[in-house]
Amino acid sequence: MASLNDYLLVSGLLFAIGLAGVVLRRNIIIVFMCLELMLSAANLSLVAFSRFNTVNGLPNYHGQMLVFFVITVAAAEVAVGLAIIVALYRARLTIHTDDLTSLKG
């Protein structure tokens, strides 16, 4: 049976992978996917804590509530984000972040 720290380690590694992807990849869709990885890593931590801190002998469902909300909002976010990417692509014909530096001061 895996211990809490094992779960946290795995979750942290997944988060690190996501972070690395966000920082390193230039394709904005991949960056977006990596963001999802990071969210999921957080979810894993939440569920692990929920399971390891029982209330009245049952898992702490408040933690899973949060996971539920995160997943839902993430779905909405993905929808909006992808729509923005599509609009961006229409306008600029690229989704390569090196080419998208209009905010450069």
Binding site: V22, L24, T101, S102, L103
Partner: protein
Amino acid sequence: MNSLPWILLFLPFVVTVVCQLVLRKSALVPWVSTASAVATFVIACILLTPSDLTLFDGPNGSGIIARYITCKPIHWASIGNFYLDIGIQLDKLSTGMMVVVTGVGALVHVFSLAYMEHDDAKARYFTGLAFFMFSMTGIVLASNFIMTFIFWELVGFSSYLLIGHWYQKESAADAAKKAFLCNRVGDFGFMIGILMLWGITGTLTFAEMAVPAEVSIGTLSAVMLCIFCGAVGKSAQLPLHVWLPDAMEGPTPVSALIHAATMVAAGVYMLFRVQLSLPLVNFHELQASTVIAWTGGLTALVAALMATQQDDIKRVLAYSTLSQLGYMVMAVGFVAGEAGMFHLFTHAWFKALLFLGAGAVIHACHHEQDIWNMGGLLKKMPVTGIAFAAGCLALIAFPGTSGFFSKELILDAAHESGSPLFWVAAFVAVLTPFYMTRLFVVAFLGKHRSDSAGHAREVGPLMWVPLALLAILSIFSGYAFINQCSPALPEHAGEFHFNTVAAVSLGALVLGVLAGWVLYAGKDKDPVRIPLLRNRFYIDAFYDKRLVRYFQDTLAAIVHFFDEFLINGLLVGGLSRTAASAGNLLRRVQSGSLQGYAFALGVGVIFVIYFTVFQ
């Protein structure tokens, strides 16, 4: 009767306003303006003998203004117990001066009716004349210094308007500007003097001035000098004399009224007024008096020298005016203001006559002003010629004419003071007959030297009647009875005693006339050419080229440069550049690169973890 002085003061003002706003370009304007001038002359004559007015004894002052009346003043500006008043002080000095101002004014108005008949803008001209009459009346009647200053500025302004009457001409426009600016420079000192005197005496009203005993002679001297600055500007003394000859760009009657008879004499009038109002024991003690006398004497000399080499008939007269004003100022400097005022009185008539005569000549010769293009005018214009001759006689102080009596008194004063200025004045007395003889001989005698002079005809009565009247006054105004109108009368006015001074001045007269006759009779062009005098000692050129261009404009340019460089460039620019470069540095952070931001965010997270977990 108490309202008469107010009518005298405000009638021309009302006329000005009505002319400017209601009548505008109507043909009535000249007549309304002239009528007002004549009316003021009548009022001035009535006021001369204010029998039914109670004359108060003044608290201070000698003789002339010992008896005066003041009309209840209008509080022009009042703050608490402090008032700036528009008041009227009537005394011998002001009423006499009023007669001169309104008398010459009325005659000049009449003369102008004919002279300016064909001018397009004669409505503007006559409105300006009326405004000048108002301002000049204000100076003369002023009961306090601020009022003097107000009207002092206003005469300057009306002079500006009238000199620039033909503003389309570059020279006229420039001359108007120059006159105004020279006066302004003088007023700079004048205002300082007024302020200091106000501080010292605690009042601005002439009749109430008292000088505390503790005030040092040096301070008073400085005050007098500052006030004298105003007179230097207005009466065109050295070194601010340059505007007056240029002012001849104005219509000739204006030159007669403003730049010969009245306004330029205002400086002398004001100085004398101050001398009388300040109850000082002895003005001789003030160094300022010496400075004033020397300024006057030198002006008289320099101007007379310059007059000998001018070709323009009006310019000769202008320099002669300068020279005579120098005499008057010198007299005030010798604390013989009565003599100065007496000369002012006689000079007003004969110089107005000379200018109007010149105007008649110019009018007849179709605006020809060079005397070398005239000649033989005495035959063609006998009335004008004779009147002009009368004016010349008065100016060169021919015995028996008014100018003789008044000038003699000034020379007396100079002689009494024992100052070397007497000999300067005597030399001027040689120069005056010299250049006037030159002028008369060249312009009026001999043959005509140009077509315009050849076609000259006698002017109409509207012009020659004023000339004739003035000619009479020029000869006789020195004698008792008429000279009672003079603003101030020395003890022996109108009498003649043969003494050293008289001998010197008669000798000078003979010498000057002879020299002039011998040199110029029958000549067709000037046998003497002295570039230094012809070019007015290069003073104008010096002002224009050196002082104005190099000094002032360069200074302005330097200041401008410093403003741009120091304040705009270094202080402000430095600040803004610092801000901008800081912004530039920070701008690099805002790379616009998504990953860059994410990286920064990650670094931030690492730090947050570090500080929350590991500390």
